[in-house]
Symmetry: C3
Subunit: 207 residues, 3 copies
């Protein structure tokens, strides 16, 4: 199995776990768990493939992805009550899924010889859109929009790292691993230590 496919598998698995956790917060049944898990797991990569006109879309050509996502949904359905804080699990699993998916999206765009801007954008798209669909459909506040947290920025920094590494001659799994590491470190730092970028604040109205 190629390194890129491995990244896709890993991101599908971890994103599916986060989707199923959100489904548990919405108290759905098992099929609802599988539906949200699949949407989250393949959402970002599907948009990437459609935008780049890569056919068949990764999971259409290889249905294993769907089976993995459904397996993750079943696992969460029967074990989620064992964990103390489902929201903490959700946020941390999402940080891993984000990092892996950014690497997968970046790698796919690099392998198609896209320009740097598009590679970065495909990394951000693959990383952020699955989780965004999950949150919009399930009416959670999108993690993308949480104030005072790094999220899209982590995806952006990770994807940029892979592009710069490629410029310096570093490609393949090492470069994509570095990309995922940068993305995850920033996200973890934001969650643990409150790292953030300055946010926009409206000036108070004049007196």
């Amino acid at each position: 199995m190629s390194g890129l496919a491995l990244l896709d598998y890993a991101s599908v698995l971890v994103f599916a776990l986060t989707g199923a956790l959100v489904a548990s917060r919405a108290q759905l049944d098992l099929v609802g768990f599988a539906f949200i898990a699949c949407l989250t797991a393949v959402g970002g990569g599907t948009v990437r493939d459609l935008l780049l006109d890569r056919h068949p879309v990764f999971w259409v050509g290889q249905p294993d992805y769907i089976l993995i996502a459904c397996g993750a949904a079943v696992l969460v359905f029967f074990t989620a009550h064992l964990v103390e804080s489902r929201y903490n699990w959700l946020v941390w699993l999402d940080s891993f899924a984000l990092s892996i998916a950014v690497a997968a999206g970046t790698g796919a765009a690099l392998s198609l010889g896209q320009t740097g801007v598009i590679v970065v954008l495909m990394g951000v798209t693959t990383g952020c859109l699955g989780g965004l669909m999950r949150d919009v459909v399930c009416n959670e506040v999108p993690l993308v929009l949480k104030q005072g947290q790094l999220y899209v920025s982590c995806a952006f920094a990770g994807a940029l790292t892979a592009v710069l590494a490629a410029q310096l001659g570093l490609t393949g799994l090492p470069a994509l691993g570095l990309c995922a590491l940068v993305c995850w470190s920033l996200r973890a730092g934001s969650l643990l230590f409150g790292w953030q970028l300055p946010v926009y604040k409206a000036r108070p109205p004049r007196q």
Copy 2:
């Protein structure tokens, strides 16, 4: 006209009626009715066609679909005040649209020779995504997420029926009719008799 096109026409018509009913709840004007009706009517099938790289997308090649959806919007705009409970009409019409669209999506994927997993998924996608877009855009609680009701499960069971029927040599409209019937019966049973699958319940916190 092929049986598949007939199913697409029927699902477009009935989904458009549900879209227009939701537009009436949002008190839009006639053009707003047509917009939501079209989005609902062609949303699921459009995603299916994009995922399967079927071009032209069914309604781009055959604009009759759009005219039918607009006709449904006009009809609802001028007659919706005659019905007692628009929400009941919405839910029941949606159950018919769901069943027909699942059959249409399943049939399209079968006719392209897709594997069983993808066929089932295309049935669920075609059936559920139009209504999901309608509800997300209009800020209704998605029917997909209503607790204690079968929805995605009905689509899943219907699509699975068509795949099993195909394995047993039953294809064409009879198989798709059976698919729609299974889907609708489950949905109707859920609405009338409260049929449901066990939902996830968080264990109460330990004392």
Copy 3:
């Protein structure tokens, strides 16, 4: 540069400004501004290109669009506090972006020789879907759904104008300029003078 590309550039720029203004209302950081600006700026045109199977998608083939959208995000991030009413700016900039995008979408479909129905629909799609994505993701009430305002109707009238003009032999930038003018005049009239179409009102319950 072709006239069509010019329209795409202009609509990307102005839609990006509206996206960044919405990001300022959500108090995001600079990368969040860029993310929402890009989503809004290229959302409608991307859906148009995917539906019409135009590859590469306009901004994938020409990353300048993304840089323009990011530039708009930076500009708004550092200057939005200077304006008195960001919501007014948002609504009026959106009216310009809508009009230009409708012309761009209509022109693209006309240049592909699509039928009248599809041309009108591509105009509406290109004009309305970027803003709709922006509002759904950022949890604003979609402008599309604002009661008692013309919005989709303006896009519809503008696109229809271009189709009729093409029938009468008027094509190219003059026809698209007329399309944008009709769309914007109706929207401005709706904002300034309360122009509207009759909306659906449920009859009061019988006594």
